[in-house]
């Protein structure tokens, strides 16, 4: 939920240290430390209207469209992918200008592909301002685009994702297999006690996905399962928070689990950490820190950052603890901001029986 806010905080700190390549100067800076003034706040549950709410909400400062998923080719090659389109407003008021380039909105895109057999992960990043036809969003019909990256929804409720990078092209058609899940309190995901420090957050946990993956001149048919997260908000994270771990799991029994754990700087877990378990019918159970226990088991190091790539997850209502493991370790996003986001699998700890697959995002590790 605070995904973007975290990214931005990290972007800022990444720019202070000179160990990263100076990517797109100013971009990072321009996105950080934006004043809340004038933006709309998520203060109370709202009524969602779909498909309109799939489109952008420019009155809020940040917003994103987040897709992760597992794909297989007919001959059994397996891939994980992540595509995120971020909308970031640098100020609340839109600017009137004769120039099409003048805009208060900037779009950022991340796209990554994990080749699970070859254990190879590639990640790409894009920035563009909204305007001059380079990036933007509309809700009817839904179209979100950042240059040649695009997410669309047609009248038959088919989502279309088109991504072209220097290493791979991905064209997917996604059809929801489960209803929309409103996270938190009917879609209001509270961040702290202060009113308005919250986001609107919904997910479509299960999207049957099929399409074409092109890599090194080779076109492959792929099919699998994706997860869409949608969130918009204005307020930023508190200074006491250090990072977070976000899990999304497709379980083979048809359930879907989302849980984010907020880590405090003192090592404790923020009581606002939350999530949900839902079934195919959309029945939903709220998860909070009391209902779930997460223990890191093994770490992988990258440039001094120690990412826990293996976890024990114990749900209060499950008899057996689960073992969650990265399908391979190096799925780090080395972009303007460095974080880990990759394909995982979940097994029953005792029997090692495969329970499902999913995605894990870890930020704020040192």
């Amino acid at each position: 939920m605070y995904r973007l806010a975290w990214l931005l905080l990290l972007l800022l700190s990444a720019c202070d240290t000179s160990d990263t390549e100076p990517e797109s100067w100013q971009v990072a800076e321009a996105l950080g430390g934006v004043d809340d003034a004038g933006f709309a706040r998520a203060t109370a549950p709202r009524v969602f209207h779909f498909p309109r709410d799939h489109g952008p909400h420019p009155a809020f400062r940040n917003e994103w469209w987040y897709l992760t998923g597992h794909l297989q080719t007919p001959d059994g090659r397996a891939y994980g992918y992540q595509v995120t389109l971020f909308r970031i407003a640098m100020q609340a008021d839109p600017i009137i200008s004769p120039s099409a380039w003048r805009s208060n909105q900037i779009w950022m895109g991340h796209a990554a592909l994990s080749d699970l057999q070859a254990e190879r992960h590639v990640a790409f990043e894009r920035f563009a301002r909204q305007g001059a036809g380079l990036a933007g969003g509309q809700s009817a019909p839904l179209r979100i685009w950042l240059e040649d990256w695009q997410l669309q929804l047609d009248a038959e409720a088919r989502w279309q994702l088109r991504i072209a990078t220097e290493a791979f092209n991905l064209d997917l058609e996604l059809i929801a297999e489960s209803p929309i899940i409103l996270q938190g309190d009917q879609g209001l995901s509270q961040k702290s006690d202060a009113a308005g420090n919250a986001s609107y957050y919904y997910s479509i946990p299960r999207l049957a996905s099929q399409g074409t993956l092109r890599q090194a001149g080779e076109a492959m048919q792929v099919a699998g399962l994706s997860w869409l997260d949608r969130e918009w908000s204005t307020s930023a994270l508190g200074p006491e928070q250090a990072g977070w771990d976000w899990f999304s799991l497709h379980l083979q029994d048809g359930r879907n689990l989302m849980y984010y754990q907020l880590r405090q700087k003192d090592g404790s877990i923020d009581p606002l950490s939350a999530g949900s378990v839902s079934n195919r019918a959309g029945m939903q159970q709220i998860l909070n820190a009391e209902r779930i226990q997460l223990t890191p088991l093994a770490y992988w190091e990258s440039d001094g950052k120690h990412y826990p790539v293996e976890w024990r997850m114990k749900l209060r209502d499950e008899p057996q603890p689960w073992r969650i493991k990265a399908l391979f370790t190096d799925q780090e996003m080395r972009l303007s901001v460095r974080y880990w986001e990759g394909a995982i699998e979940v097994r029953e700890e005792s029997s090692k029986r495969l329970l499902g697959k999913g995605y894990l995002e870890m930020t704020g590790y040192e």
Partner: protein, 837 residues
């Protein structure tokens, strides 16, 4: 080497400090001029290249547009549809600030990462301000320091005539802040707003793989070009080549005068010591030793003069680089240079020229000194005899060089270098002829001066009798004077040609134009209704429109002069040769163009030839209807009718309106009426009367030649020192003769008069001999050098004041040079001076 010999040489230099110092100063000035011009030239080029390089960044290619720029939609197409990831849009413009021009570059920081890294240190607030707040800019840190500006302050500038306050949010440092001098960086939206050009880009930078180039070239819309940045900079630099070569040649001219000076000094120093040298020879000093010690003497002076010259050169260059930059800004492109870029090569060049020329000039006297026999050297009359006998041969050699120079000029084609070498050969040849001329002239004047006073006869005779010295002095003096005369005739002729051209080109009474903010490719157009508003005034008889845009010609970029005439009485053009009979109908129809003389000269085109232009409708083959005189652009111009331009480029804009008033209407009254008629439009306009525009153009002309004037003054300085040192040597060398005169009863006063009379006469002779050479030089400069460098023809003038000035310079310098010896001679006791006998 023999220490004794060395000491004698040093002692000699010490005993004649005037001569030594004047020579050193002469060398120093010569070296200084060369070094200064080279430094100024190189600094301007380097500044241009470095800033071009830093602005180009890592781009391998650039898409550039025609007069209307590039539609920004193309950028989206390239990036989104053609998936060319490494692309960056650029908007360029000019911003004026108290007579200074700054370059405004608009970028999209989100697309810049692959290309440039202008600033690392923007904080979040500044970065947002850059993207969001109108009129926010980053300013070159060097420029900011120069202007005394701090980040956060406002910078009041004029853009296209509008007063705008720019907010300087931070300073641009970069790896090398100097190359960003004069640069304002803004977000692309800010730049489009400031330059009032929404939807338009000036350039798209790309990083392309070789295999992408062909496809992209084929896919580009008509009128747009895919270029390699280096070739673009090269074309820009070629524009200033001729200008810079000319400057360098002018500086060489100063050095040439300096060389004569050194030669003169060395010869005198040998002549003065012939007694000592002969004695040394008698005592057993070998020729080789003598030769070496004399060369060493020259080297010492050369070293000293060169070192001084380098220092002086650096000082002069500081000033010169401003003049060079201003001319480049006036005539070619916007460039800010505030730093001298001192390249070791330039200094080395200065050293080589300084020492080389000194040695070369000293070679002949040294050989001469080493070659004379001990006995004969003692006898002065022997020397004079030999000189007299040698005169015809020297004269013959001079004649040969003169003819050779002339032949070289006529056979070296269009080569500028050939032109200059021919010119130098002519100067050398002429100077060799001068001693013969002096001999003839003195014989003539002795004959006619027979009935004059004794003093006059003494003076006249003295010149003829001491030909070994006077011949040399007159020769070097006349070369020096001629050089300044030649340059000044050239400038005067050029100026009057331009004034004449302006008089018949500017046919309207009043000119109204938009104030431009475009960095290149086109000037700002007036609002479409402007002409109609002016035309409807009762004071106005007729109007015409004009515009200048840069398009792509067969040989790279060329300026297109787009004209819509007032009526069919087409005035304002004069043709080199009769134009095609149906020219004006063809011109209006758009199948005939006019080209300017420099363009015709440069590309060997003439009336009736054909020309191909790249238009937005594809390429266009046109007939050249006529070649017109033009002094506005040394790159050349093509003129096309407004209707044809509108047809082929889809652009009906015009940048200026020429207004012809009804008979009897006062321009000032009409100007007020026009101003009033146009007040409704918020466009900033220039209103200039014919007179004002002419004065303005002449002011630019004079500014352009300011640097030539400076070089001419420096050459005069060298010449003056040359005259001073030559004549002073001449007189001092004759101290014994003068002592003899004193001893035979001539009073000090008479002696002073005699000395001044004689130097005055020498100056007179030199002035007279300088006149033909000066005229010859001006002819070569006008007919050969200027033509080859710029392609225009200049009508020669013979300005009497310049001639007078040359004569005056020669005589004045000569008289001044006579003062010290005369004063000294008046004081020295004859007995003392005669004791040697």
């Amino acid at each position: 080497m023999n220490r004794l010999l060395l000491r004698s040489a040093l002692r000699h230099m010490q005993r004649h400090p005037w001569q030594t110092w004047l020579s050193v100063l002469g060398i120093a000035l010569g070296v200084a001029v060369i070094v200064a011009v080279d430094l100024a030239n190189q600094s301007a080029r380097q500044a241009f290249l470095l800033s071009a390089e830093s602005l180009t960044g890592k781009a391998t290619h650039q898409i550039t547009g025609g007069p209307t720029g590039i539609p920004e939609e193309l950028y989206r197409e390239l990036r989104v549809e053609k998936r060319l990831r490494q692309t960056a849009p650029i908007v360029e413009g000019l911003v004026r600030l108290d007579g200074e021009t700054l370059q405004l570059i608009g970028i999209d920081p989100l697309a810049e990462a692959d290309f440039r890294n202008h600033n690392e240190g923007l904080n979040d607030q500044a970065a947002r301000q850059f993207l969001l707040k109108p009129a926010s800019v980053l300013l070159s840190s060097i420029t900011a320091r120069r202007l005394g500006l701090e980040p956060g302050q406002d910078l009041g500038v004029t853009i296209a005539g509008r007063q705008v306050d720019l907010h300087v949010i931070a300073l641009l440092e970069g790896d090398n802040p100097a190359v960003l001098e004069g640069l304002l960086l803004a977000d692309i939206s800010t730049a489009q707003e400031l330059l009032d050009s929404p939807g338009r880009l000036d350039r798209i930078d790309l990083i392309l793989r070789p295999d992408q180039v062909h496809d992209l070239t084929a896919a580009l819309p008509a009128g747009l070009n895919l270029e390699i940045p280096e070739s673009r900079s090269r074309v820009m630099l070629e524009m200033i080549d001729a200008f810079q070569i000319n400057l360098a040649a002018m500086s060489l001219l100063a050095m040439l005068v300096g060389a004569f000076l050194i030669y003169n000094t060395m010869t005198f120093s040998v002549l003065r010591r012939r007694r000592l040298l002969a004695t040394l020879r008698v005592l057993g000093v070998t020729r080789g030793e003598l030769f070496r010690v004399l060369l060493l003497e020259a080297i010492l002076m050369g070293l000293f003069g060169t070192a001084l010259g380098l220092l002086l050169g650096l000082l002069i260059a500081e000033y010169l680089v401003q003049l060079v930059t201003r001319t480049i800004n006036d005539l070619y492109f916007v460039l800010t240079v505030t730093q001298l870029i001192v390249q070791p090569l330039t200094l080395l060049k200065g050293c080589l020229v300084g020492l080389g020329v000194t040695l070369l000039a000293a070679l002949a006297p040294a050989i001469e000194a080493a070659g004379t026999l001990p006995i004969s050297a003692l006898r002065r009359s022997r020397l004079e005899q030999r000189v007299r006998r040698g005169l015809p041969w020297v004269g013959l050699l001079g004649l040969a060089a003169l003819i050779g120079g002339g032949l070289w000029l006529s056979t070296s084609g269009n080569s500028l270098l050939g032109g200059f070498s021919g010119l130098f050969l002519i100067i050398a040849g002429y100077s060799l002829l001068v001693p013969l001329g002096v001999a003839l002239l003195s014989r003539l004047s002795e004959r006619s001066g027979k009935r004059g006073s004794l003093l006059l006869r003494f003076a006249l005779r003295g010149i003829g009798a001491n030909l070994s010295r006077t011949g040399l002095s007159v020769a070097s003096l006349s070369v020096a004077v001629a050089a300044t005369l030649g340059v000044s005739i050239m400038i005067v002729s050029f100026r009057s040609t331009v004034a004449d051209w302006l008089a018949y080109t500017l046919t309207s009474d009043i000119y109204v134009s938009a104030i431009s903010s475009r960095a290149s490719s086109s000037d700002t157009t007036l609002l479409p209704e402007t002409r109609g508003l002016i035309q409807s005034l009762p004071e106005v008889a007729e109007t015409s429109t004009g515009r200048r845009v840069t398009i792509r010609g067969p040989q790279g970029p060329v300026d297109l002069l787009v004209l819509d005439f007032a009526s069919n009485t087409q005035q304002g053009f004069r043709f080199l040769e009769p134009p095609l009979p149906e020219l004006w109908t063809g011109y209006q129809r758009g199948d005939q163009v006019l080209i300017s003389e420099p363009y015709a000269y440069r590309y060997g085109l003439g009336t009736g030839d054909r020309l191909t232009l790249d238009t937005l409708q594809g390429s266009l083959n046109l007939t050249i209807g006529g070649v017109f005189y033009d002094y506005g652009s040394d790159r050349g111009l093509i003129s096309l009718s407004a209707s044809a331009y509108a047809r082929y480029w889809g652009d009906t804009g015009y940048a200026s309106v020429g207004v012809i008033l009804q008979p009897g209407i006062e321009p000032s009254a009409a100007m007020a009426a026009i101003r009033k008629a146009l007040t409704a439009s918020d466009q900033q306009l220039h209103f200039r009367s014919n007179r004002e525009l002419r004065d303005y153009s002449m002011a630019i002309f004079d500014r352009t030649f300011a640097i030539t004037q400076v070089l001419r003054l420096l050459a005069i300085g060298v010449a003056f020192i040359g005259v001073l040192s030559a004549l002073m040597a001449l007189q001092l060398e004759r101290s014994r003769e003068q002592a003899l005169l004193r001893a035979t009863g001539v009073t000090p006063g008479q002696l002073i008069r005699l000395t001044l009379l004689q130097t005055g006469l020498v100056g007179c002779y030199a002035g007279l001999f300088a006149l033909p050479l000066g005229w010859l030089m001006s002819e070569v400069l006008i007919e050969v050098i200027n033509r080859r460098a710029f392609g225009w023809s200049i009508t020669s003038q013979l300005p009497l004041d310049a001639v007078f000035e040359a004569l005056l310079l020669a005589v004045f310098a000569a008289l001044l040079a006579g003062l010290y010896p005369a004063w000294r001679m008046g004081r020295v006791s004859p007995a003392l001076a005669l004791r040697e006998e």
